[in-house]
Amino acid sequence: MPTPNQPIVPPRSVLHRTRSRRGLAAMGAAVLGGSLLAACGGSPGSHPAAGSSPASTAALSAASSAAPKKAKVVTLTLATDLTDPISGTNLLPWQNVWVPAFEKAYPDIKVDIVGDANSSDDTALYDRIVAAEKSHRPPPVDMTDASILPELVEQGYGVRVTSKLVPRLAEIYPSQMSLARYEATPFRGSAVVLAYDSAKVKNPPHTLPALLAWIKAHPGQFTYCPPSSGGSGEGFVQDVASAHIPKAQEMEFLDSYKPALESEWKPGLAELRALGPDMYRHGFYPNGNTAVLQLLANGSISMAPVWSDQSHAALAAGLLPKTTKFLQLTPAMPGSPSYVMVIKGSPDEAAAFSFINFMLSPTEQDLVAKYMHGFPGVRWSDAPAGLRAEFAGIESGYALNWDAQFTNDLAAKWQAEVPGA
């Protein structure tokens, strides 16, 4: 029953953006407030400008603005597949929150959102960007944060970001910039963190060995989702597997797929298999990120790995007990930044980078935290104080998600060797 819209393999890239998105995508289809609103929510932003060239749109809006004193209004287009974090709220981060804040600060720049409902739309957008480049035309959109971004970066479609174009570049972790080859800018992030009910757990573990010991000491109180069903489970499994991998070798799993390396996972998978009897219901792994949150919410379990953004959004919406607290292990579990990029050939490059720079400002970073419960795109030390307060305990960063082909294999091996054995 494969869905034709879904790519068979998440696009392979150093950015691993599709994997982290899984957390949010799953949230869109969440049973928590499950409705098709999320899917519909992606499209109201769809704009006819998607087809026409941005330059002509800009000219049109300039011509129609009657006020003679006003400078020419530039219209940017941004293609996105981001939907509302809690399905059904119908509050779309770009359309309803982040872009209005920017347009207030920059009255001369208008940003039109082109919403992509699913990955097949993204593929079509990718094709159109390639076609525009080949025929020496401006790209169909000026900016994107959609799931095709890693491929665009890999093919060199991004304008190289410099501190001249984006003065706030200094506030971003250089490692995150080089992961995107300086072609895209991280503006938010999310990681797998440990959620626990502080009413039941007084002394939560802060390291992986302490967590594993806690699970054995509290049988039935912990579980995670199968890695194939959600990124939070995938992050936890990767964390346990990488604990047994020599430090020097760990970097090899971030890029260039070499199946021979996978024998290193054996001890980690054996450890997870041995934990089975102490898991919730002696080894039951609920399907998906949301199902784990539901078990936390109804008190079936008292601790689990969860996505930072999804769980904070659920807590804010009252879908998790008020006593739920979060912490990040040391060393941290995996996560990933989300990027936005300016596409080469955009006639309004300067305006686009003003937009990206503004996305890193405290104003926008506060809004990222408020409406997406996302980590800041900038360094924690440069993040607004209120935002650091919200994520106190989990702001220590995150390990990077492995290459998609490795995580595919990890999910397959987990299925065969952990619940199956």
Binding site: M1, T3, P7, S228, P259, F284, Q405, D409, P419
Partner: protein, 312 residues
């Protein structure tokens, strides 16, 4: 007079031929659609499982992991990998067991309900005959989710049992037994309607004659009723088993993490593990099983037609 008659006959023959041509054309449309949109992909998928990664299979093969590629000709390597994997072997076994058990339970239950409605009298019969069609109008996704949350360890059923101090462990939530129950639940209306209508067709006179001759109820069932409803029985078994063989929604929502039924496993291999070839190997295996079931159906249909012919 004769010439007129011939002319009329000739005129009638031409429209008849045209009608036949239109009929063939109309009938060929669905066939054509089936060939293009079902037949071609099936052939491509089977070739891909045999290691052919060229032509229209090159797109799927370019992003696949762990696939077996035939150097020249075709290879059964991917099938060998399937049977070498202990995980997939147990998935296959559980798929077969669930299919067989759900068919048997379904037929037994449908027969019991059908007999009750056929021979029962009074208001209870009416209530039962209304209730058993209810699952038909509940979407499978919703039914599966409702059932599993009802009878899981912390569900309403466990709470109810605990209230009366009854044991409430070993409930069918997220177990293979739960999958069987779920499949029976969703297939029940169709089975009872078919078997029930078969039972309505058994003449009262026949049953009374058997009783008058001194046959006990079980003997009447075995010698008179069951032979009369053989065809609906076979249809129920074949159709529900075909559905169970490739079931996805019920085992995905109600089943255990492992072993998985093949429908669930192939989705995982296709969408999450980046192994479309292994997913298609499983699809071909399920497909072969379904063809076997279709064979049984055709045989039963033919036997029943011959039967009618002999009687007629």
């Amino acid at each position: 007079m004769t010439s007129v008659a011939v002319a009329v006959a000739g005129g009638a023959r031409r429209p008849a031929r045209r009608a036949k041509a239109i009929g063939t054309l109309l009938a060929s449309l669905p066939v054509l659609v089936t060939v293009v949109f079902v037949g071609v992909p099936v052939v491509l998928a089977v070739l891909y499982t045999l290691g052919d990664v060229h032509g229209l299979n090159s797109a799927v093969a370019s992003v696949a992991q762990h696939q077996v590629v035939a150097r020249h000709g075709l290879t059964l390597g991917a099938y060998a990998h399937f049977f070498e994997s202990a995980e997939l072997r147990s998935d296959l076994v559980v798929t077969v067991v669930v299919t067989v058990v759900q068919s048997l339970v379904l037929v037994a239950l449908a027969l019991a309900l059908g007999l009750f409605v056929r021979f029962g009298r009074g208001w209870l019969t009416k209530v039962v005959s209304t209730l058993y069609v209810v699952p038909m109008f509940v979407p499978v996704v919703i039914a599966s989710f409702a059932l599993v949350t009802f009878w899981e360890d912390r569900g309403k059923l466990a709470g109810f049992l605990a209230l009366f101090g009854l044991p409430h462990s070993g409930l069918p939530g997220y177990t293979t037994a739960g999958v069987v129950l779920g499949l029976v639940w969703t297939n029940l209306p169709f089975a009872v309607i078919l078997i029930g209508s078969g039972l309505q067709g058994v003449p009262d006179a026949l049953i009374e004659a058997a009783r008058d001759a001194g046959a006990k109820p079980l003997r009447v069932l075995r010698r008179v009723i069951l032979p009369a409803i053989r065809l609906p029985l076979v249809i129920v078994i074949v159709f529900s088993a075909t559905g169970a063989l490739g079931a996805y929604t019920v085992p995905d929502l109600m089943g255990p993490n492992a072993p998985q039924m093949l429908g669930v496993a192939m989705t995982g291999y296709f969408q999450s593990f980046g192994q479309p070839q292994m997913a298609e190997v499983m699809a071909v295996i399920v497909f072969l099983g379904a063809i076997g079931l279709a064979g049984i159906y055709l045989w039963a249909n033919r036997a029943s037609a011959l039967d009618r012919g002999a009687r007629g």
